[in-house]
């Protein structure tokens, strides 16, 4: 008997002693989501930004892509960093040239990651680059106003390590993609799973943190120390 068979046998003989009702599909039961958030009249974007700040991240709102670009440039200058990474999705593609020029002028090394298939050696090179990157700039899929979290997913054109290894992670999100909570965004997530089947979907809520030493909060343990969300 295989181990699976042994375990299933044990489960069946255990269940045989109790009478299990038929399976219920819980998804068809309406979930009563009367959380206090939804009752508030606060604008959802405002609520989301507060939630991001509350979770230890920083949130900024920009009217246009250009406005955001000038803020990013200023941030890079202030940070005095030496290496940045930009994941080029359709939105960030438009910034590619301008930010590239800015980086060259300010002596900052830049890696623009296009949506394309990489060879083994290119992947190794990318990883080595990310090990010493200071700031990464990527695009988010969806935001949840109740927690201040943002959903990202693994894809060509964005390394998983890009939102893990650098000291600062800046995530861009379209304001239309902000939802009340994960429940409301479930159809989007399910669609993503079916259409793209990414290896990982990650929900990021603030910077890396720990309170393992005397319950004192410290940020930037293993992941990014700074998490910044830019809404456009």
């Amino acid at each position: 008997m295989t181990s699976k068979e042994k375990i299933f046998r044990a489960i069946t003989s255990a269940s045989g002693q109790s009478h299990s009702p038929d399976k219920v599909d819980f998804t068809t039961r309406p979930r009563d989501n009367h959380s206090n958030f939804q009752k508030s009249n606060e604008d959802i974007i405002h609520r989301y930004m507060n939630a991001v700040e509350r979770s230890g991240g920083k949130a900024f709102r920009f009217i246009s892509l250009d406005e955001m670009l000038s803020w990013v440039k200023e941030f890079i200058k202030k940070d005095q960093c030496s290496r940045i990474y930009v994941s080029l999705d359709e939105t960030l593609c438009r910034l590619a040239e301008s930010i590239s020029k800015f980086a060259k002028e300010n002596d900052v090394e830049i890696k623009l990651h296009k949506d394309e298939l990489l060879t083994e050696s290119q992947r190794v090179e990318l990883r080595k680059y990310l090990e010493v990157t200071d700031i990464s700039l990527t695009k988010g899929l969806a935001g949840f106003a109740d927690t201040g979290a943002v959903a990202i997913y693994s894809q060509a054109g964005e390394a998983r390590a890009a939102t893990l290894l650098p000291t600062t992670h800046i995530c861009i999100l379209n304001k239309e993609n902000i939802y009340h909570d994960m429940d409301t965004a479930l159809p989007v997530l399910e669609k993503l799973m079916i259409e793209k089947n990414p290896s990982a979907i990650t929900f990021i809520c603030g910077p890396s943190r720990t309170a393992d030493i005397e319950k004192v909060l410290v940020t930037g343990v293993h992941g990014p120390k700074n998490f910044i969300l830019c809404i456009i």
Partner: protein
């Protein structure tokens, strides 16, 4: 004040000795009080987000009940979908088999270094020692677990493994083991750990993680964390092995969304942890990074025993949040190590007798005042304190209690059944108490008083006061 290290081995059989060694430790009790009260305060703040928290608990209970009642169906569904996603699914009946499965995978990919994210089940099967025995460097990457590993101890709490250590103790530990100048600042100590562990993440061939939830419908696993070490352990190495108990399943993403709301709030008082990873499989061909190989090991190791005991079945619903530990008045005084088991506190006192055998852990169901705070706080509505009571019955049935105790309880039962006998006994106790009173006026009872204070007896019983007042009117 440094913690006095007792030489008593950490085993549930040694409960009384372990408690004795810790109950008088003021520093430990201060650490515990601070940590548990902070967690509880933060928890109540975020639970207040929901008017319908009780309904959420009920729904969670019903979802878990359904999963456990139809466990083979859900396991089969998970296995099929996970396999379609490129995950290799293994089953292990017991700890030996689970360890061997992991060792085989590690040997096959010539692993020299393994990075480990937090996994209670990996402690249960004692995986780390098995890997180290065959010469594989195994690093705990969760900061608390890393500290505990350096100190060669076991974790004392489910979500805060180094809860029992002060910053000075950790500073000394780092200074000794990592050869750095002494500092006790949490920020600096964390930075040291970050630098040391970063290198390990990048060099390791294999990453091992636990599983918070396994989603049957999508064949994915979900890992919840704050530090980023689980993401790093499951992204950087070429091979990822995830370990899970058979009971970790949820039906679909809808259920996952509910459980994520309950877990972080109950465990650390956060609305959401910094990182929640929903991992569907190894790296896709078009993706630039991620593990090339992913395994999930589904472990029984005594869980089917819990299934067959009707009264204990609910213990399988546990999502390992640790809330019951934080609120338990006993845990708050004695800490996790006193239980001598990796599963401590109220739920640990149910799980340990099942995993280790009721005879070895017979003291644990008694490490409770039966106040029921654990059952009230449990996000999945597990009736923990009634399980502890039931386990006590089993211990007595197996003649696990002392004769002296049985005699005392028989006397107590007789006194409680008879009003004159009860009144006489209480008067007798108060007449004789001056013999047993010490300087600070608390009563000394042989053996019992070694780890407990008995408050001084009042001069009148409540009944006497009541009748005296009545007649005075």
């Amino acid at each position: 004040m440094t913690v006095q290290k007792t030489d008593t081995p950490l085993r549930p059989e040694n409960f009384f000795k372990l408690v004795e060694g810790r109950i008088h430790n003021i520093q430990l009790r201060r650490n515990l009080k601070r940590a548990t009260s902070t967690s509880l305060l933060k928890r109540s703040e975020v639970v207040a987000d929901f008017e319908n928290w009780e309904e959420m608990r009920t729904e969670a209970y019903e979802i878990k009940k359904q999963v456990i009642d139809h466990l083979s169906d859900y396991l089969e569904e998970f296995e099929n979908n996970a396999t379609k996603n490129g995950i290799t699914v293994h089953y292990a009946v017991d700890a030996v088999e689970a360890r061997n499965l992991v060792l085989d995978i590690c040997e096959r990919c010539h692993a020299k270094t393994v990075v480990k994210a937090k996994s209670m089940v990996s402690e249960e099967i004692d995986l780390r020692h098995a890997l180290e025995k065959i010469g594989i460097e195994t690093i705990e990457t969760d900061l608390g677990e890393y500290i505990v590993q350096l100190a060669n101890e076991i974790p004392s709490h489910i979500t805060a493994p180094a809860l029992h250590k002060s910053r000075e103790e950790i500073g000394e530990l780092f200074s000794e083991q990592l050869h750095i100048p002494f500092t006790s600042e949490p920020e600096k100590l964390t930075q040291v750990a970050r630098n040391v562990l970063r290198k390990k993440f990048l060099d390791a061939e294999v990453g091992i993680s636990g599983v918070n939830f396994a989603v049957a419908k999508t064949g994915s696993i979900c890992i919840v964390e704050n530090e980023g070490n689980a993401r790093l352990s499951t992204t950087m190495p070429r091979v990822h092995i995830a370990l899970m108990g058979i009971e970790k399943l949820l039906p679909d993403l809808n259920a996952l969304s509910l459980f994520l709301k309950l877990l972080a709030r109950s465990a650390t008082g956060q609305r959401m942890t910094s990182y929640t990873s929903l991992i569907n499989g190894p790296r896709r061909e078009t993706e630039p990074d991620g593990p090339d190989e992913m395994h999930v090991v589904i472990i029984d190791n005594g869980r089917t025993r819990m299934l067959s005991a009707e009264k204990l079945r609910e213990a399988l619903y546990c999502i390992r949040c640790g809330a019951c530990m934080n609120v338990c008045p006993v845990y708050q005084k004695i800490g996790g190590h006193s239980y001598g088991s990796i599963y401590s506190g109220p739920i640990g006192s149910v799980l340990t007798p099942i995993f280790n055998g009721i005879d070895k852990a017979k003291h644990l169901p008694y490490a409770s005042s039966l106040c029921g705070a654990c059952s009230e706080i449990c996000p999945v509505k597990i009736d923990i304190h009634h399980m502890l009571l039931w386990l006590r019955k089993r211990v007595v049935e197996r003649k696990g209690s002392k004769l002296f105790e049985r005699v005392i309880f028989r006397c107590w039962m007789l006194a409680m059944r008879s009003k004159p006998l009860y009144e006489f006994s209480s008067k007798l106790l108060r007449w004789f108490s001056p013999i047993m009173v010490t300087k600070n006026e608390s009563m000394r009872i042989p053996v019992w008083s070694k780890t407990r204070d008995f408050p001084p007896l009042a001069s009148q019983s409540f009944r006497e006061m009541w009748f005296r007042n009545k007649t005075n009117k």
